[in-house]
Symmetry: C2
Subunit: 318 residues, 2 copies
């Protein structure tokens, strides 16, 4: 049987994983599948940390970061702090075809998307605007830390022909400062893939992920012979300990990895859901827990968890 | 004797290396020394790829990228596409003290610098403007590739107390598209340092450097026991070959590295000057050449080379 596979961060990626696995099963390319996966998440208005419906920065502007990498050629495209673009991942993928100017930020990134004819919309949904206004009021009333909701969608795909790809997309930290960029568009931190080895993608506090270049580190460890699970556990737990010791604190982070045989792994220092599918196993949502023995514990998601999630993301906002 | 040292990319870094080595010899910190080194380059108007006098993007705007990393704590700060700031490296260093929002791009980065009171000037010197106008005219007359002059200053410092730091600063590719970002502000690609091991910094075509995360790779190889020279040679030559094979082309790149014993190394796929100083050896400018045996050949710079360089950077522009 031809092996193919895909793995992506968070429960929100599941519908995209279903789409991508259909494409891959039908002989689709790794690049097309990973773009389709991410676009599905970007388009869904109830996911408040990615794309349409994503929460804005402290000034009320939705600023997005995204990246795309081709594991055959190492070609990369990325955008950071881009505005008004429905599918930041598609802009990143278009940029990956350029040898020069393949990473664009701010107004220059938005201008590129306009000139290339990408669909532009007002990304601030009424729901996201309400959440932003509520948070502003809450922050005025207390010294609440505004920074949460850093749930990037990151995915890795393996196509039947052995090609791999990875992509990420996020609206970043809720209430971030204007122009703040996390790990998602940064090679080696938010994503990395080498079709000769495997790929990895990250979600979590970007400021800490980039201190460790964790996606590159996981791919490197797979290249040295570790399974994706061993590589992810080794990279995540040891860096989290090092950062705690040397920096005095360590944000939350979670990484998914897949090698070029369709084997996969996940490591996290916080409860973390993800979705995975391979030629051998239908798409499923799983939940990972950090464990004291430095081996991530993974179990199926419960219907109860899924129901509560559905209620939470669609809860009315007063 | 207490060991200290510093190494930095290009001949242009030499005066900064002299400044930094004085500071380090007198017990200065790694962070202060590397910032002083980079500021010296940023302030000099005849260096047309860094700071004041740097060449603008295709729209005539000088857009700068810079980063700072503390090897003790892994704390990082970075800016990309920032405008009108005399010392982008100092803005990056200030951001490295923040746990959140430590990487800022575009208008948000410039706003941060304004609010924090950093010195702002018109970074487009008359000389740089003239060079830009000439290039525009030349591009209209032919299909000349506009992209050269990607000479980032990147430096690594080791202080007598064992602490290390690294920093980078660049105005990026001449004639780049608005918002284009290279490797310089990207952790693991443009720079990386771990005081328990060593550090590395890069210059060259950022789009290709980020495909290989070469600064992180060199530090990783030093951690595995290689000397800085072995680590740099191994990382640079093997990735250049891989990229040529897989991507079909490979831009120019050069990396400098130093470990926490003050040993240093350099590897490059193009003729490359750099400056280095340690407690054992006075500041000197050296020139590196790629070699067929995958061992970089390093020799002292000649007075003839230095004289020609001086004439070249100050040549009248009609």
């Amino acid at each position: 049987m031809t092996m193919w596979g895909t793995i992506a961060t968070w429960r929100m990626a599941h519908d995209g994983v279903v789409d991508a696995s259909r494409q891959l099963a039908a002989g689709g390319t790794a690049g097309d599948a990973v773009e389709a996966l991410i676009k599905r998440v970007e388009a869904y208005e109830y996911y408040k940390s990615v794309g349409y419906g994503g929460l804005p920065n402290e000034e009320g502007e939705v600023e997005m970061d995204a990246a795309f990498m081709d594991g055959d050629t190492f070609a990369q495209g990325a955008v950071a702090g881009i505005h008004n673009v429905l599918h930041a991942v598609s802009v990143a993928r278009a940029l990956s075809h350029e040898h020069y100017n393949s990473f664009r930020v701010g107004a220059g990134a938005t201008k590129y998307a306009q000139l290339q004819g990408f669909e532009m919309v007002n990304m601030l949904t009424p729901r996201a605007k309400k959440l932003w206004q509520q948070r502003l009021a809450a922050m005025r009333a207390s010294d609440l830390s505004p920074y949460d909701g850093h749930d990037t969608v990151g995915a890795v795909t393996l196509a039947g022909n052995g090609s791999m790809a990875t992509a990420t997309s996020t609206s970043g930290l809720f209430m971030k400062k204007a122009g703040r960029v996390g790990d998602s568009p940064l090679s080696g931190s938010g994503f990395y893939v080498d079709s000769a080895v495997g790929g990895a993608a990250a979600t979590g506090l970007g400021e800490d992920l980039m201190k460790g270049c964790l996606s590159y580190e996981i791919v490197r460890q797979m290249a040295a012979g570790k399974t994706p699970q061993e590589a992810a556990d080794q990279a995540v737990y040891s860096f989290a300990e090092t950062l705690q010791a040397r920096y005095g604190k360590c944000g939350e982070f979670s990484l998914v990895a897949m090698n070029n045989r369709g084997e996969w792994g996940v490591a996290t220092n916080v409860e973390f859901t993800f979705s995975v599918a391979t030629a051998d196993a239908a798409p499923q949502i799983l939940i990972a827990h950090p464990a004291a023995d430095h081996q991530t514990r993974i179990e199926p998601i419960t219907q109860e968890w899924l129901d509560a999630y559905e209620r939470r993301i669609k809860a009315p906002i007063d």
